[in-house]
Symmetry: C2
Subunit: 188 residues, 2 copies
Amino acid sequence: MGRWEPGASGRLREAALALYLERGFEQTMVADIAERAGVTARTFFRYFGDKREVLFDGSSELEERSLAALEAAPATASALDAVSAALDAAAETIGDNRDLARARQRVITANASLRERELIKLTSMSAAVAGGLRQRGIGDAEASLAAETGIAVFRVAFERWVNAAEDRDFGDVIHETLTQLRTLTAAS
Amino acid sequence: MGRWEPGASGRLREAALALYLERGFEQTMVADIAERAGVTARTFFRYFGDKREVLFDGSSELEERSLAALEAAPATASALDAVSAALDAAAETIGDNRDLARARQRVITANASLRERELIKLTSMSAAVAGGLRQRGIGDAEASLAAETGIAVFRVAFERWVNAAEDRDFGDVIHETLTQLRTLTAAS
């Protein structure tokens, strides 16, 4: 009880998502999640601050990896190429586990306060990417626009990827969406 | 008392914005707004459901006008041109009163729950624009991407316009941002 439990964090995450889908997020208690995962509530709190954090604790890793890729892009890369590198890193971070991403998305879509949290997360990501672009010497105006455009591509690609019947990689869907953006803006 | 008050809605809006800036949104009561505007609280509630609605009651007009412009765009217009027509209509709707837009933005930026409300409004706008594009016969994937891109342009242009020292029209800033988007996506 309360000791280190190998694999507990993964089991807790799976149990939480299953219960959020079965009963709804609001109706699920931390004690239910712990019971389903075969651990104590105390063990739950060793890994997650609350039941919402199970859904959002990947955000900081996503942001860190994306920003690292943005920073590592060649100095000659255009603003959108740098953003594209960040999107690739995001796809690698999320893309390992499509079932998890799908379950998470269904839970979030079903709950207004979780949808708000997700929107805030994306807005904060946009601000961070704009900051990273400014550090690359890109002007304020272009940096904000490239970041917002990148978030738009991410949102659309993510929705396609979690909803698609087929099994393409998230990275492939991101590239397709970026190509479509170039076509869209070149068309007129 | 409670009768029709000519100009009361405009006075209430100005009084509310002034108080939100002076005292903060949370600290302002409907009674304070009514008193500042020289009307009763009952008159306030003839125009606005609550103190938050003073800030967001323009949203439905904005959405209606933007969607009407989208629908009225020539059948030959590309997805992004149709979105651009919607953005022009949005600029016309908002652009009349820059001081009001600025004050409103400062109030919203200062309050987390208002920022969330604004994000939700933009997301709903994006969904509505995507729906309008699908009605023009544009495929799902392209419609979502064009709508999200349009919202990205709107956000960036709006921020520039309310923050800029100069006095360009909101429509001009939108056009400049759209041109910048084309340059950005063509650059690589």
